[in-house]
Symmetry: C2
Subunit: 356 residues, 2 copies
Amino acid sequence: MSDVANTRPTLAAVARRAGVSASTASLVFSGAGPVADATRARVLEAAAELDYAGPDPTARSLRRGRTGVIGLVTEDSLGDAFRDPVNLALLDGLGEELSDDAYGLLVLPWTGEPGGVDLGDVPMDAAILLGCSVDLARSVEILQRRRIPIVAIEAPPLPGVVPIDLDNAEATARGAGLLRELGHERVALVTLPLDLARERGPLTPEREAAATAYTAIERIRGARSMFPDAVGVSAGGSTVAEGHAAGLALLDVPAADRPTAVIAQSDLLAAGVIRAAEELGIDVPGELSVLGFDGIRLDGITPHVLTTLVQPSVEKGRLAGRAVRAALADGAAPGSAVTAELRRGETAAAPRAAGR
Amino acid sequence: MSDVANTRPTLAAVARRAGVSASTASLVFSGAGPVADATRARVLEAAAELDYAGPDPTARSLRRGRTGVIGLVTEDSLGDAFRDPVNLALLDGLGEELSDDAYGLLVLPWTGEPGGVDLGDVPMDAAILLGCSVDLARSVEILQRRRIPIVAIEAPPLPGVVPIDLDNAEATARGAGLLRELGHERVALVTLPLDLARERGPLTPEREAAATAYTAIERIRGARSMFPDAVGVSAGGSTVAEGHAAGLALLDVPAADRPTAVIAQSDLLAAGVIRAAEELGIDVPGELSVLGFDGIRLDGITPHVLTTLVQPSVEKGRLAGRAVRAALADGAAPGSAVTAELRRGETAAAPRAAGR
DNA sequence: AAACGGGGTCGAATCGATTCGATCGAATCG
DNA sequence: CGATTCGATCGAATCGATTCGACCCCGTTT
């Protein structure tokens, strides 16, 4: 009652007060091991008297070698990472799997270099890399030295990293194939940001070569497998506004130079392109076909059912969650791959169907 | 090279190999204290040889008493918490403040009881409560026992908890006042979920009395200060779809029974109500005025500029971040309050303006 | 009645670092 | 040239718990 007043009580203090050893007190709180009812009651009473809040999580983590925390590394700012509906769906799946084991999700925006979080300094049991580019390799190394299991969602293959893959290139190729079948020849691309700089602007061979964002690169590759010479514009993010700007850049030109189809790398970008077309008086799909990617719900954002590649976002989250759990339990880690399916919506048709 | 092969190397091992004491090796990595260049080099070399990844964050946390983690407690599922644009904006503000000190944000969905995360078991330096209801009081107690500073955003006042408040009741009253001035008398409410159950349905005195969601309660109170007898419907979430459903419930009735204005507790709900009105052939604002709350961007979700109460969401995040930093630095914690401002948009007008 | 078994408790080692105070040699000062 | 100071390093204590093996006592089994 004298020196314990100010400082936080410890398990040892509780044990002393209850007249038992620290080991026994520990057993009371952890639930493991047999403890006589009378003893348990005495310890709990002592704890209540001292206002003890239970074992310190940090100390427990050290001893047990587990923190109960899983890091989610993103390359976006905190807010932007979750502004993408695909990531939200992924979070749903992830939450489903992780909540069972009461894991907490530690969101770590990885900005590149300056003063940001050093992945090596963060206490966590495993890491999930979300939409991370090639630059991350160094951080991956640190985590691996620390023997932390890593699950990467749509990342370039790295040794020791469990991949959750999406057939970005192949799926895009399938979508592009549809456009080709319909008879399109002048096709333009609207891509996701190419790198951490997120600079928007026309796609040049140099910029493409310097790109680091894996998903964007793969989808470009898929599109180019059908339309090798397609022109394009890179957006500064996956938003309707960015798609709108990109759309204007591509479509606000003499009709002869205008593409007859746009391959957008996300549904939000596609919606923006469609909006731009509407503003310019270009009929979709009559004069312009638009292909999206993701298959998110576009409630009221566009009146059309988008022609797009529907990816199983929630499932990706579940798979990532399961992979983490498996890695933590067995040490073994099942990688996996999912597939996006082409949905023929209402925004793709044969070129010049309007009969000009 | 023999027994060190399998297990993770420790600072002690590195020190031994470099021929220095553990204390000196620690100084090398922490940067504190003077170390001779030659010694430093030797230690780093030893570390490299052993593939040492730097001091273990868990051990460091225990010794230092700091984890570098801040808990963000929400009552939604992982995904749903971030589906609300207001929360995203808040995250932006929070990230701004927290990234400087390289704090990680640990997202903790608090589901109530079953097997979810126990807030007492999570290693964190401070906690931010986001949109949390009265039920949380017990968890708050645990955190306080653990001497963890708590910042609560829009929560009922609790002793020892730093509040970041919004004038929900007063702002709503101002908005309702506008409707009254315009001449409305039959006004209906569309509220946010009343509790963790999120049951949708008509507002009854019993349900209102049993409500636990602070923000919803306050906004109802504000509305009732102008329209004591307003009928209402509670939604199951802050989404356009929920607003749409609520709108249909309120508006799909004989015109004589229909309210002339709806006070929605969020912009998304308001957008849903407007959509429902459109479907029913009810003109907004001619036959129905709609008031929102939040002031988010509703890009293309509705053609109108919403009449709404614009709250400074990003600022709330910043304030919360600053409060956390202050609490961690000084122990002192500045609470604060922000105000929502009425924006007269295009969705409120005098009743029956269409001249029936 | 001796041996056995097991529930209940305790001591001591351990998890991996940080940090305070002490030590020691060398450089600086008067 | 002796005294003081400063830089570099080390030992030992500490952070707060968990856990393994040992131990004791008492009820069973044969």
